[in-house]
Symmetry: C3
Subunit: 367 residues, 3 copies
C-alpha cells in the first residue's frame, strides 16, 4: 500500500532515472528502464509494479524473492536476487537512498506563509520570511524566528526565545528561555526551558525553590520528541549539540550538555549536569544519574542504570551498568540459575512468588 493521500501528498509519478539519481546511482546505470514511471514508495511485501521498495540486508531476502515491486533499492550484494521484471537499484546505503527517494515522492511540506487570525503574536516578535503560525499559537514579546518557520496550533514560544531558519514547532509544544539554531524541530507536546527540579530544604521542613536562571541552547538540527522535556539550566545552560535527537518522552535535567549527533531513545532520563560527548547513543528507558561524563561514541543499552562515568567508545548495559560483555555474562548466569529447578530452594521461591504475583502490577482494579 502506498501512502494515504489524505495525509501524505505525493509528487509522483516520477521516471525511474530521476528516482535512481535521487538514490545516488551513477547516471546511465539503468539502460532501458530509465523511462518507466513509478507512483510511490511502499513496503517490500506490499509494493506493486509501479512502486519502489527497499531492503537493507539479508533478513528480508525471502520477501524480496516474492515481491511484486517494480524496483527495489538494496545492497549491491543482493542485486542478483530480485525477481523477474523488478529493477535492482544497488546502493551502498539503502536506508539513506530510500530516505532520499521517499522525500522525492513526499517532500516535507513547506510552511503556508501567514499568521492564522486566531494566533497571538507579540507586536515586537520577529518572524522570518515565509513563516507559518497556526491557530491559537502564542509568540511572546521579543521572540525571533528565522525564515520558513512553522509554528503549529497551540504552540507557545516564550518571550525572548530565538529559533533559526526552518524551525518546526509542532502542535502543543512549548519553549521558554530557549535559544535554538537552524532546522530545529520540537514535536507535539515537547517541553523546553521550564524550571528544573532544583530546591533545597529549609530548617522548618519545607522546600525552597532555587531560582533557575539559565537557558536551553539547541544546536542546528536538534529534534525533541513528543512530550519530551528539557529543563533549562539552574545557573548556566542546558545544551544539546548539533544534530542531537531525542525521542518521545525523554527527560533532560538542568545543565545537562551533549555533544554533536547524540541519539537518545524514548523514555530515557538524564539527571542534572551530566555531560555527553559526541555521537553518544542511549537506548530506550535507560537512566543516568547526575554529574557524569559519558565519552564520545559510548553506547548505553536499553534500561541501563548508569551511575558512573563511561569512557569514550564503551558499550555498557545493565542496572547498575557495566560493560556489555560483562552484563551479558551476568545475565546468562542468572538465566541459567533461574532455569535450574530448586536452585534457591522450592519453599523460598514459593514464598517470593506469593509475595510478588506473576506479573506484578496487574491493572484494572480500582479499590
Amino acid at each position: 500500500m502506498a501512502a494515504d493521500p489524505r495525509f501524505h501528498a505525493g509528487t509522483g509519478p516520477h521516471r525511474l532515472d530521476r528516482i535512481a539519481a535521487a538514490a545516488g546511482l551513477p547516471e546511465g546505470s539503468l539502460a532501458a528502464d530509465g523511462a518507466r514511471l513509478f507512483e510511490d514508495v511502499a513496503p517490500l511485501h506490499e509494493a506493486g509494479p509501479a512502486q519502489i521498495a527497499f531492503l537493507d540486508g539479508r533478513r528480508h531476502l525471502a520477501a524480496l524473492r516474492e515481491s511484486q515491486a517494480g524496483a527495489v533499492i538494496l545492497p549491491p550484494a543482493l542485486a542478483g536476487a530480485v525477481p523477474e521484471g523488478c529493477v535492482a537499484l544497488p546502493v551502498a546505503s539503502p536506508h539513506l537512498a530510500f530516505a532520499r527517494v521517499a522525500a522525492l515522492f513526499h517532500p516535507a511540506p513547506a510552511p503556508a506563509a501567514g499568521i492564522h487570525p486566531t494566533a497571538s503574536v507579540a507586536p515586537d516578535a520577529v518572524l522570518g520570511e515565509g513563516s507559518e503560525v497556526g491557530p491559537f499559537a502564542v509568540i511572546g514579546a521579543g521572540a525571533v524566528l528565522g525564515a520558513r518557520a512553522y509554528v503549529g496550533p497551540h504552540a507557545v514560544i516564550g518571550p525572548g526565545c530565538v529559533f533559526g531558519d526552518d524551525a518546526r514547532i509542532h502542535a502543543h509544544a512549548s519553549a521558554i528561555c530557549c535559544v535554538a539554531g537552524h532546522r530545529v524541530t520540537l514535536h507535539h507536546g515537547a517541553r523546553v526551558g521550564q524550571e528544573g527540579f532544583g530546591f533545597t530544604p529549609t530548617p522548618e521542613g519545607r522546600y525552597l525553590t532555587i531560582p533557575q536562571l539559565g537557558r536551553v541552547l539547541l544546536g542546528d538540527e536538534v529534534e525533541i520528541g513528543a512530550n519530551a522535556c528539557v529543563d533549562r539550566g539552574a545557573l548556566g545552560d542546558t545544551v544539546l549539540g548539533p544534530g542531537t535527537r531525542l525521542d518521545n518522552q525523554v527527560q533532560i535535567g538542568h545543565n545537562v550538555t551533549t555533544g554533536r549527533g547524540c541519539v537518545i531513545v524514548a523514555q530515557v532520563g538524564i539527571s542534572g549536569s551530566t555531560r555527553l560527548g559526541d555521537y553518544v547513543t542511549i537506548a530506550g528507558q535507560a537512566g543516568l544519574t547526575g554529574h557524569l561524563n559519558i565519552g564520545s561514541k559510548a553506547r548505553i543499552g536499553a534500561q541501563a542504570g548508569v551511575q558512573s562515568d563511561v569512557p569514550p567508545g564503551q558499550d555498557v548495559t545493565g542496572s547498575p551498568a557495566m560493560p556489555v560483555k560483562d552484563a551479558l555474562r551476568a545475565a546468562l548466569f542468572l538465566r541459567k540459575l533461574g532455569a535450574r529447578k530448586g536452585a534457591a530452594g522450592p519453599a523460598g521461591a514459593g514464598d517470593l512468588a506469593e509475595q510478588k504475583g506473576p506479573p506484578a502490577g496487574r491493572p484494572g482494579h480500582t479499590d
Copy 2:
C-alpha cells in the same frame, strides 16, 4: 464519602431493586428491601446506610464486618458476612456489577451538542450529530467525526483524520494521520500520529529523517492515556486493535501492531515494528525492543526488558526478561546473596557503596 457533586453529577437516589437489576441480580431476589432508596456508591470503609459499596475478595473481609454501608456488592461466598441491616448483593463479578451500578448513579456525561465560538473548525470538516467541540479546539480540513463526539478544550484533530461515533478527545490531545473506530478515547495530552524516530546517518555525520508516510489505525474502543504517545507508521501503519487500552505516558513506536484487548500499563515503551497478539498484558515501565512477536495472552511483568519473542500465554519478567518462575528464582538467589554478610567481600562492597551512594539520584541539588 460519596462523589463530590462539584465534579460528578449524580442521578440518585435509586430504588434498590433498580440497582440490583443494574448489578445483574435476578429479578425478585431482594424481597422487602427492593424499595429502599440509595443515594450513591462509596468505598466500603466510608459508605453509610444510603450508599452502595463493594468488595471483590476476602482481603477486605474485616472492613465488611464493620461497614455501615446499606448494601454491598460481593461474591456469593461472602454474602453471609454482611453485618446486620446491610443488604448483600451477591454476584459472580463484583467489579463488573459495581461498574454498572456506579454508572447508573453517574453515567458518563453526554456531549453538550454545539461548537464553542472560539473553536477553529475547517469548513469542510464533518461533525456527527450531537457532537461537542470545546474552546480553542482545532479540527482540520476534511476531518470526519461520528455522532456524539466530544472534542475537549485545545484538542487538535489534524486534516483528514477520521473518528467514529462517541469519540472522546480530551483537552490538549492531538491526533494527526489517524483513522479511528467507534468509542475511541484520547485522554489529556495524548499524542497520536506524530512522526516516528526514523532517520539515517549521512556520510557527513548528520542525520536525515526518513519520511514517515504511514498512519495510526485505532480499533473500536481503544483508549490512549494522558500524555501517552503513538507514532504513525514509517511505511504502512501503526495499529492498535479493538479494545486495547494504553495507560498514561506509554510510548508506542512506529509500525507497532496490537491485537484485540491488549492492556498496557503506565510508562511502558514498545519499540518499532513489534507485534502483539490478542489480550497481551504489559505491566508498568516494561520495555520491548523492536521487531518482536509477543503471543496472545502473554503477560509481561513490571519493568521487564523484553528482547526476544514471547510465546502465546507465557508470563515473563526481569531485565532481560525470562519466564516468571525463573525470574523469581534468580531474584530470590540475589536477595539471599545480598542479605548474606560478607558475600562479596566487605572491602569490595564498601567501594561500590561509596561509588554509588544510597540511593542514587538524590534530587534537589543544582550545581
Copy 3:
C-alpha cells in the same frame, strides 16, 4: 556568565551587606566589604569580581582556588580557602543561602494582573485579586482561584476546581476534579485529575470503564512537574501532601496518597492505592506496584522496582527492591561475575550476545 536578561530580569546591583543579610550572615560580619556592589549570581567557575558564587562541599575546592568571583557562599570550614580579593560568606547551609541570594537578584515575577482578551473564563468563575490569566486559557464554571494566581497560556482549569493563593499553572497544564491549597505549581503540560486506568473485563471479552468518581487533593506548596500525570481517585481521592514535589513525567495512579514533603524524581511511576508517609524520597525511574505502604523518610533508589511495603526510614533499591546494602552486595557479585572470563561458558555467552546485540534497541531503522 550571569543570567540572560532576555529571560531573567534582575534587580541588581546590590550591596554586599544586603546580600549577606539575605544569605543569613549575622549583621556586621563583613567589615569594610559591606559597601561593595554586586551585579548577579554566577557559577563558581564563571563568576567575575562583581558576581556571587557558591559551593557546598570539598568537591569543587580546586575551582574555588581559581575562581574570579567577588564573593562566595560556602561552608565555614572552607572559608579560609577563598583566593585573594574574594569575600567568603560562610553559612551552615550554602544551598539555602544561595537560593535566597539568587531570589534577591531574581525574585519570582509577580503575576501581571488581568485577563488576556483571548482567554475563556466562565462567568461564575472566581479569580482572586492580582491574578493573571494568559492567552487562550480556559477556566471552567464555578472554578475558584485565590489571590495572585498565574494561569499561563492554554492552561485548562476544569469546572469546580479550587486553587488557593499564589497558584502557578503553567502553559498547557490541565486540572480537572482538583482541589488545591496555596502556592501550588503545575508545570508545563502537567495533567491533574483525569480518569484513572480503571476498568473490568466483560464476559464478551471487552472492557468496561469503572466510573472514576474521586478527586485530586493537593496540599499547600505541592509542585507537579512538566508532563507529569496525577489521576483522580476511583472512589475517594488521590492526595499529595503539603510540600510534595513531583519532577517531570512522573505518573501517579488513582487513590495514591502521600504525606508531607515527599520528593519524587523524574519518570517515577506509582500504581494505584499505594500510600507514602512523610518525606519519602523516590529517585528517578523507580516503579511502585499498587496497594503498598511506604514508611516515612524511606528512600527508594533510581530504577528500583518496589513490590512490597517499605518500613519507615529504610533505604531500598534494585528490581525487585531490597535494602540498599543488600542490593549493593548483589550488584557487586554480578559485576565480579561478569568481569570473570568464561564464568558462564564462552559458547553460551556468545549465543546470548548474538541474540541480544550490544546495546539493545538501536534506533534509526524504520523497516
